[in-house]
């Protein structure tokens, strides 16, 4: 019972990190939290629904939807965000509010407001007995997929030259730019990858939570808490806090079901009261 709950928490924490990792890297380079980030996560879930309705293959949807969401993200970055960069952070931040409003309402126009169920392939249904306990196969699949994606991301970030450039740009984009590296292109890459990661999380979470317009609010808020608490721009902080929040949510629902959503904010308030820059953050 407790173990199964822990596995649920782990699955959610992993997904949370998929969303939050892009958010925190974009913050590192741009200096603002992208309010629209979770909207791309939701958009991906809706595209997944559309692909399922047209083709009927979950695997295809898992491949296509995040890429489509990332394409929209990159377009927004190219056509909108980049142009207001010169006006300072306030403009960028509010622009992302505008983008999130448009995506939210656009989604309602195209797909309506009711929640749409997503069915997983038969192979992922059912439960798996393991060591005297049985787990839903889908949750294990989620954890496995997240581990693979995160492993690939970590390998890219920590073993390649491109990863090195990205990490450097996240911590000091001005200096990297001065060294002759085309930071806007790197930023576009990071933004695209970030929205792609959020998109993967969107598709994967769709069968668990169903697809509805409140999806962005729910996940977005959790991701913001992760990024702010973990330390703005810190991947490790985001990873740690994602897992903590995942477990906090899952055990919270079990023990104090009414107040479970509040636990997260209490955790954040305690951390920020002692460290306003977050657990691993270096700037406010």
């Amino acid at each position: 019972m407790y173990v199964a709950q822990g596995v649920h928490g782990l699955a959610y924490g992993m997904l949370l990190f998929l969303v939050a990792s892009g958010l925190t890297m974009v913050f590192g380079m741009m200096g603002i939290l992208n309010i629209a980030h979770a909207s791309f996560f939701m958009l991906s879930a809706y595209i997944c629904h559309q692909v399922l309705a047209l083709v009927g293959s979950f695997w295809l949807a898992l491949l296509v939807a995040p890429v489509a969401a990332a394409a929209v993200g990159v377009l927004c970055e190219r056509l909108l965000l980049r142009r207001v960069h010169a006006f300072g952070h306030m403009g960028e931040l509010i622009l992302t509010v505008g983008i999130s409003l448009v995506i939210l309402e656009g989604v309602k126009v195209f797909w309506g407001t009711e929640s749409l169920p997503i069915h997983v392939p038969a192979i992922l249904e059912g439960r798996l007995a393991l060591g005297g306990l049985d787990y839903p196969v889908y949750r294990l699949f989620v954890i496995g997929l997240a581990l693979v994606v995160l492993g690939a991301l970590a390998a890219l970030l920590y073993t390649t030259r491109l990863g090195m450039v990205v990490r450097a740009a996240v911590s000091d984009s001005g200096m990297v730019n001065a060294l002759g590296i085309n930071v806007p292109v790197v930023f576009m890459l990071v933004f695209g990858t970030g929205t792609w990661l959020a998109g993967v999380a969107g598709v994967v979470i769709a069968p668990i939570l169903t697809v509805y317009p409140g999806l962005a609010d729910q996940m977005g808020m959790d991701a913001f808490v992760v990024v702010v608490t973990g330390g703005l721009g810190s991947l490790w902080g985001a990873f740690l806090v994602s897992l903590i929040l995942g477990e906090l949510n899952s055990y919270g629902v079990q023990f104090v079901s009414q107040l479970a959503p509040v636990l997260m904010f209490v955790f954040m308030a305690i951390v920020l009261a002692f460290r306003p820059m977050g657990l691993f953050g270096e700037r406010e």
């Binding site: 309010i35 006006f87 505008g98 808020m221 703005l232 920020l272």
Partner: protein
Amino acid sequence: MTPAVRRWIGGGLALAGLLAYPHLFGIYFTNVFVTFGIFALYAVSFNLLLGYTGLLSFGHAMYFGAGGYGTALALTHIKGLPLLPALVIGLAAALALAALLAPLMVRVSGTAFSMLHLAFAQLMFVLALKLRAVTGGEDGIGGFRIPPLSIPGLVSIDMKNPSSFYYFAAAVLGLSILVLWFITKTPFGSVIVGVRDNPRRVAYLGYRVPSTKAVVYLLSAGFAGVAGSVYALFQNLISADALHVSNSFIPVSMTMIGGIGSFFGPILGAAIFGVISELTSRYTERVDLVVGLILILVIMYAPLGFMGFVDTIRARARPRVVPPGATEPAR
């Protein structure tokens, strides 16, 4: 005519217009105007933080909601509570919440300030949904008694009559906006602009930056609370929707669209907002789609909002004369 005379005439005409309004336009547009007034005060209180102090809050709805819930709860639970004390309780609720959060909030700025507000407002939203016994959950608190505005022994005006409520709301909201306007013209108003532009220098001049921020924060929260309180009285209902993120983004949009650069920008923004939702809601439910698009366009092409746009055109139309002793308007 001297500017002073012109200002008195302008003010007199505006007052006469306000007084005549419900008789000229009927109940429907009277109610539209009350809604506009509520959101105008809400946006102006928000702009005291954003435009004057440089603090962008993504959770101003919690003070709007605190005011609304304060008044609604007081009227539900206290028998025979008169109108004005109910309003004051709404104000006090918002102030109490702000006083609780201020020690944390004055220490942060920039993105952290915005995000902390987003998070705390969401916390309030979740609490309002979950603490059903107190707040009524999704349904909120509705159908409470709206007391008449009475001066004991003299008059008692029924507030259920839309046009009397209009006068009451116009007086409360108008006075609040005037008080805020007056505050921005005092030396204190200049200090808060200094805090926005160069906090270190303001500290060096001997002003205490955190306490200054705290005072502005309380003022802004308190007047948002008044707006929320009038809103609750007007709708005879306050629900968790008032605390939702989208309600926090409303003053952001209004201020940006109207113009962050001036005191009256947010009021203009509230008016533009009102017209947009009046017009679009006849054709579609998706008013926010239009608002979002306009918001994007404004930030891309007119980052100082409508007011800034007007100023630019005016500046082009005639050469600029700076009167002696004038300072740059607050941005």
